[in-house]
């Protein structure tokens, strides 16, 4: 019986014909989704709506972390249909998906407690909803005051608005308004005819995650074209992904040190990050690995020389980073600013649907490399780093441990690469994509789970492209982390998450 309610796929498996996905009544859909998501082993990768002119078609992707499968559920709705019963009421982490659907298509959700704008897309349903009339949560009180920060911040970072409600120095509530970075990315993905154009957009979704998003895109196109990259390429892609993780984690450690005024930690980590990204530049000509991830092949196959350089740099970075973090996280002046600061509880992380590092620091194992392995991670099982405390310190030390783990992975992968080397294939920009099909591709970027989904029409042209950066969920974790904290601790909390604005705003 339940087999007819959804279709099961695996990460990176060939695209499936849309016709094979059963369309449920909304009641059945609601029941099934809520039932599945009650188990912590399941989480929703994406839930979105496609405007098919005559009807709205909804697709929901639920990942089963235990079985490594992805269930695709679907329902349809007439254009003038009545509001739907909200899933968020039962499963709080669905809030963001329903808000997104509401904002883009004007579809109502009864019982949704927080049906607020997400990113003010240019084609939003309600044009009267504007950046300057966001419905902020308010508390009437003589004692409380509000603090507004942004969209432009003190540092050289992206824009977003933070509205704090404070009691003296203490934060009672933080609400984050985003959307300033909205570039119409998803629409462009479907409108651009050139395959290369989509590659360029993919690596610009979040430039600090060019490998993560670039790979998610390349893998998606390969699914739609039913091709499997050869082993050497899979290994190279995983190496680039881990190098990106190492570089950002080290850079974030520098930034955290900067925020707690520990200069030795800051400058040494800055220099170490430079070494890593310059190695990426040596490999593909770009410090952020733009240009490296392409469907079907690569323009920059790894060479013996580059592989040797990566090994050399990794050895040095690992040692020096371990020395410096071994010092940073023992200093009372650092610990005083990080320990028990910005704590997210396990329950909060689960309810907000936290992903990646934000989940792993709260004792929740969310790591696509492990649960839904892609590329060479299907052959090489990684050991995710898990922490329990959920505070700034946990997010700091988790980075230190993950760098170590990633160096280990890279060493192993380079060893495998030597064994499996084949002739490098060039990227392919003229794949014929399967018509009327749906494909999903998930990767684990340094922030967490990245999900790309595409739908093709009868000619194999992409008509709908959906992108999810983990920041979409993790921004809510940040908002909860600063409750009951001193407002002066906000910067260090914010840095400890280092979430993407453009990845959220798309």
């Amino acid at each position: 019986m339940s087999n007819q309610r959804y279709i099961e796929v695996r990460n990176g498996s060939p695209a499936i014909p849309v016709g094979e996905i059963p369309v449920l009544s909304y009641d059945l859909f609601h029941e099934e989704v809520c039932g599945l998501l009650k188990s912590e082993a399941n989480h929703c990768l994406s839930y979105h709506c496609v405007d098919l002119q005559s009807v709205y078609r909804f697709f929901c992707f639920i990942a089963d972390d235990a079985a490594g499968t992805i269930r695709i559920l679907s329902h349809e709705m007439k254009k003038d249909g009545a509001p739907l019963r909200s899933l968020t009421e039962v499963i709080p982490s669905m809030h963001i998906f329903e808000r997104e659907i509401h904002e883009s298509h004007g579809i109502g959700f009864t019982g949704h407690p927080w049906l607020k704008p997400v990113r003010y897309p240019h084609d939003r349903a309600d044009r009267s909803s504007a950046m300057d009339n966001y419905p902020f949560y308010e508390i009437e009180s003589e004692e409380l005051h509000e603090v507004g920060v942004g969209p432009i911040h003190a540092g050289v970072i992206e824009p977003g608005h933070f509205r704090f409600i404070c009691n003296g120095e203490k934060v009672l509530h933080l609400e984050i308004q985003l959307g300033y970075q909205h570039r119409g990315t998803e629409k462009l993905m479907a409108e651009k005819e050139g395959a290369l154009q989509r590659c360029i957009i993919a690596e610009n979704i979040a430039g600090d995650t060019a490998a993560g998003h670039g790979l998610a895109h390349a893998q998606l196109i390969e699914s739609l074209a039913s091709v499997e990259p050869d082993e050497a390429l899979q290994i190279e892609r995983c190496i680039a992904l881990e190098m990106e993780r190492i570089a950002v984690h080290i850079g974030d450690t520098a930034a955290l040190c900067g925020d707690v005024a520990y200069q030795l930690g800051q400058v040494t980590c800055e220099a170490l990050r430079t070494m890593v990204i310059n190695t990426t530049q040596l490999w593909c000509g770009n410090r952020f690995s733009k240009g490296l991830m392409r469907p079907g092949g690569t323009n920059y196959p790894l060479t013996e020389e580059i592989s040797g350089e990566i090994l050399k740099i990794m050895a040095e970075v690992e040692k020096r980073f371990s020395d410096v973090t071994g010092l940073i996280y023992t200093l009372p002046s650092v610990l005083g600013r990080m320990e028990d600061i910005g704590t997210v509880t396990r329950q909060q992380a689960a309810e907000t649907g936290a992903l990646g590092m934000a989940a792993r620091t709260c004792g929740i194992m969310r790591d696509i490399r492990k649960t839904h392995p892609f590329q060479y991670f299907r052959k090489y099982e990684i050991t995710p780093v898990i922490q329990e405390q959920g505070d700034v310190l946990a997010r700091g030390t988790l980075r230190a441990q993950e760098v170590k783990e990633s160096v280990k992975i890279i060493r192993h992968l380079l060893h495998e690469w030597k064994e499996t080397r084949g002739t490098a294939k060039k990227p392919v920009y003229d794949y014929r994509l399967q018509p009327e099909s749906l494909a999903i591709s998930v990767t684990e970027g340094w922030r967490g789970e990245i999900c790309h989904i595409a739908l093709t029409d009868s000619s194999g042209k992409i008509i709908h492209y959906k992108i999810k950066d983990p920041s979409v969920h993790n921004w809510m974790s940040l908002a909860l982390a600063v409750r009951n904290q001193e407002i002066s601790d906000f910067p260090v909390c914010n840095k400890s998450f280092n979430l993407s604005y453009c990845g959220h705003d798309l």
Partner: protein, 250 residues
């Protein structure tokens, strides 16, 4: 204390002594060079492939203000198109970002165009406010890196500051989104005169791959005089540093 000394000793001297002549990786893609003899057929092939319409379909010129520096044109026409690792590619005239076939001369600022007050006021101290308006955070990180322990642009008194009130100009990254247009205008107005505007990165200069998206509003760029264009995807810290040094006459 011993641990600290050990870490500092391993750290060594990181700063780049000569920001004008620091070598970068051979594969780094800076100023393109196009052979004089590029044929019409080759031009149409690469201009059709170019994801950002940076190649003039008639002349074969590459506009670095649009270029995504993806290298695909050079890969299909090796020997005819190549990207050198010359990172000194900033210009103060938009048209100087266009590299014509057969031209191998470096990109330099037009001194006549530099307003007198720029050198007069900012030569010893230039404080900048960075505004990301749809930037993808790679240009932002590279601009941040200009002040780090390696590049240390602060040695020339050039720094990014927290408030437009403390700054002498703005550096814009990103294609300028509609949702950020008003904040950008307000920020610029808050900077005391005289002030400069710098566009950092392909997205800021032309919209890049996002050019033409209905989510953008580039009226600010169209309505103001730009003092410096620094191409790149993202901008390399040395491209930015050299561009500003040229502007200040350092």
């Amino acid at each position: 204390m011993i641990k600290e000394i050990k870490i500092l000793s391993d750290h060594g001297r990181q700063y780049i002594a000569d920001l004008r002549h620091q070598p970068v990786a051979q594969r780094f893609r800076g100023r393109p060079v196009i052979a004089a003899g590029i044929e019409a057929e080759e031009i149409s092939k690469v201009s059709a492939l170019c994801p950002v319409s940076a190649i003039d379909g008639r002349t074969g010129a590459i506009d670095m203000g649009r270029c995504a520096f993806c290298n695909e044109c050079a890969l299909i026409l090796p020997g005819t198109i190549s990207f050198t690792n010359d990172y000194r590619i900033a210009a103060n005239r938009r048209e100087h970002l266009v590299v014509n076939p057969g031209v191998e001369k470096p990109v330099r600022l037009d001194d006549q165009m530099i307003r007198k007050e720029i050198k007069h006021y900012f030569r010893r101290s230039l404080k900048l406010r960075q505004v990301s308006a749809g930037g993808d955070n790679s240009c932002e990180m590279e601009l941040g890196a200009t002040g780090n322990v390696n590049f240390d642009f602060g040695r020339y008194g050039v720094e990014f500051v927290a408030s437009p009130r403390h700054s002498d100009g703005i550096v814009i990254t990103g294609p300028v989104t509609e949702n950020m247009a008003e904040a950008l205008e307000i920020c610029y107005d808050a900077v005391p005169s005289p002030k400069i505007i710098v566009l950092a990165g392909t997205d800021a200069i032309s919209g890049g791959i996002f050019a033409g998206s209905p989510a953008l509003n580039r009226s600010f760029i169209d309505n103001h005089t730009i003092d410096l264009y620094v191409p790149g995807n993202p901008v390399h810290p040395l491209s930015f540093i050299n561009g500003i040094m040229d502007l200040l006459g350092l």
